[in-house]
């Protein structure tokens, strides 16, 4: 090979990755800034210098000039909540991007295999049976995972999982769990349990505690790390099963890894904060507008965009009215029109 070609290849590569790298760096800074600003927001006023000192006191010795309430608000309420919004938003967005690539369909969202329907049923069942928060979360998690496992079993034919079969199996399983959820709502006590179920289904981060953060973030982080590790191979998977096989990819293994990672993070997210729609569908499209369709850049971009977006939505949810507005309502009210606007701008092209 001539040196000129090699040189051109190297410079082209630099110019190709440079823009994406710069955008990702910008997003990282923005997410951190949004997270920091969000710590100030809320009913209990805390001035910036106090906040910085409260946060810094955990790392370096700082003279204590604030009351215990401030400490509690920052460490036990706001920080867990912001951290959870960050992880849940990022998780939903990155699994949406991975699924859209894997299913070769930009209209797919993370609940395509029935995880949210299963999780919703699990939570409602636990509420009906009078379970505590932990029981509700565990039940949501287990039924979410069980729903995806059922979808996978139905969609599997001759040791392969054709995309169309998986999608159809997901619709079947989703419908069954939706019907079971309706049954639970129908028999639930309308004064006490039904409102609890309905509120849970609308999604909220208002009850997030420090211990929940500690238990929910590791599985989400593991799922995110797995998806980031295989992100370039999602490009190959998006060419279709047969071409991916011809290129030497173990298609079933890769699909399995992606499904397990996405299910782990979505089921965990649903179990902690209920059903939050639209993030996993819309954010990857915004990501494509910014960094292009290559999953090598799209997955990290979706992760960061999703994180920033859900922190902002949660800020809105706890500040616009005295009572909290459920997250699921806001993500749909903002996400759906935004999606329509974007579709019109790109005229349906997936750029």
């Amino acid at each position: 090979m001539s040196r000129a070609v090699a040189a051109r290849a190297t410079s082209a590569r630099a110019e190709e990755g440079a823009r994406q790298r710069a955008i990702l760096a910008g997003l990282e800074v923005s997410v951190l800034a949004i997270a920091l600003v969000s710590l100030f927001l809320g009913r209990y006023p805390i001035d910036p210098s106090t906040l910085v000192r409260v946060v810094a006191s955990r790392l370096v010795p700082v003279e204590r000039t604030w009351v215990d309430n401030v400490e509690t608000v920052v460490w036990n309420i706001r920080l867990p909540r912001v951290a959870m919004a960050m992880f849940v938003g990022g998780s939903l967005a990155i699994s949406g991007a991975a699924f859209q690539g894997m299913f070769r369909n930009p209209l797919v969202s993370p609940d395509i295999l029935g995880v949210t329907a299963g999780g919703g049923f699990g939570a409602a069942l636990a509420i009906l049976l009078g379970g505590n928060t932990l029981a509700i979360q565990l039940s949501a998690l287990c039924f979410g995972v069980a729903a995806v496992a059922l979808t996978y079993l139905i969609g599997r034919i001759y040791r392969t999982t054709p995309t169309l079969m998986l999608v159809l199996a997901g619709i079947v399983v989703g419908s069954i769990f939706s019907a079971l959820l309706s049954l639970i709502k129908y028999v639930a006590d309308p004064n006490e349990k039904l409102p609890a179920i309905v509120f849970w289904l609308m999604g909220s981060l208002s009850t997030v505690s420090k211990s929940e953060t500690v238990s929910a973030i590791p599985p989400m982080a593991a799922g995110i790390a797995t998806l980031l590790a295989v992100r370039w191979r999602i490009n190959i998977l998006s060419l279709g099963d047969e071409e991916a096989r011809a290129l030497g990819v173990k298609v079933e293994l890769l699909k399995g890894v992606i499904i397990v990672a996405c299910t782990l993070i979505t089921a965990t997210a649903v179990s902690v904060c209920g059903i939050i729609g639209w993030v996993g569908l819309v954010i990857p499209h915004v990501g494509r507008l910014l960094v292009g369709p290559n999953h090598r850049w799209l997955l990290p971009a979706s992760l960061l965009l999703g994180s920033g977006y859900l922190i902002l939505i949660d800020d809105l949810s706890r500040t616009i009215t005295a009572a909290e507005v459920p997250l699921g309502i806001l993500t749909a009210l903002i996400g759906a029109p935004f999606f329509a606007l974007m579709l019109r701008r790109t005229r349906g092209g997936w750029h």
Partner: protein, 271 residues
């Protein structure tokens, strides 16, 4: 010359038998053409040779070893397959699409590096499409896309290239361009090429060896001038043709159909 990829008494069936008792062998630096009517089993045969489908009977050997013994990536480093139908959803850049050919050389968690990019660039240059490197893969013409897919196959650095009707959907000029590229790859890079085609002329133009396939068996095989004959084509397609010698040792296939203008003249005479 040693056979790189060979089929020994291979049979395949879905609900009905597709082909049975087929044997063939590809050789380095040689272009083999597979001719046959629609539905005669050409694509199925290619997919069996590429390892996408498993034979019911017989075996495929790659460099003397059974194809089934190779791992996916191991196989894809030796055999590249260009599919007839290719649907893309996401508008990757042409260079990115070609770089995907590097997959069998990369670890499970790896992304392509500068070395892979250089190989992809060279593959694009080989098929004469370097100017398209930054274009969106979904927005280039059908002819360009076929060449880019061949570049992707070359990025796999294979010794065997399987092409399923590479000239279908292409205009006349692009058909010739593609055939020239295929011929050059065999001659200059020593690739063993097998391509299926609907055009006997294409076989005459670039192939060194031709297989005529009908209803799941090989009707005839050998050098193009011996195999692409009027009788064979009549047996294969059920139409009358004449194979004519051109200047030099070139031959062309001319269908002996009732010329359309005659019919019109007769109608006009009636008036």
């Amino acid at each position: 010359m040693t056979a790189t990829l060979a089929l020994e008494h291979g049979s395949f069936s879905y609900d009905r038998p597709i082909f049975a008792g087929l044997s063939l062998a590809l050789e380095c630096g040689r272009v083999d053409a597979l001719l046959g009517p629609n539905g005669c089993g050409k694509t199925t045969l290619l997919r069996c040779l590429g390892g996408a489908l498993a034979l019911r009977e017989g075996r495929v050997t790659l460099e003397g070893r059974a194809l089934g013994e190779y791992g996916e990536a191991e196989r894809a480093r030796r055999i590249a397959f260009v599919f007839q139908e290719h649907h893309t959803v996401f508008p990757y850049s042409v260079l990115e699409a070609v770089r995907m050919g590097r997959t069998p050389h990369l670890g499970f968690l790896a992304s392509p590096g500068p070395h892979d990019t250089a190989i992809a660039e060279r593959a694009l240059e080989t098929v004469g499409c370097s100017h398209l490197r930054s274009a969106r893969y979904t927005e280039i013409s059908g002819g360009e896309r076929q060449l880019v897919l061949i570049a992707r196959a070359l990025a796999q650095e294979p010794s065997i290239l399987l092409l399923d009707e590479p000239t279908s959907h292409l205009d006349f000029g692009n058909q010739m361009l593609l055939l020239m590229v295929v011929e050059r790859l065999a001659r200059e890079q020593g690739l063993a090429v097998l391509m299926s085609t609907h055009h006997p002329d294409h076989a005459l133009l670039v192939a060194h060896h031709v297989y005529l396939m009908k209803e799941g068996s090989i009707l005839a095989q050998g050098a193009p001038c011996d195999v692409v004959t009027a009788e064979h084509l009549r047996a294969l397609y059920g139409i009358e043709v004449s194979v004519m010698a051109m200047d030099g040792d070139r031959q062309v296939v001319v269908p002996m159909l009732q010329p359309h203008s005659d019919g019109r003249q007769k109608r006009e005479e009636k008036r």
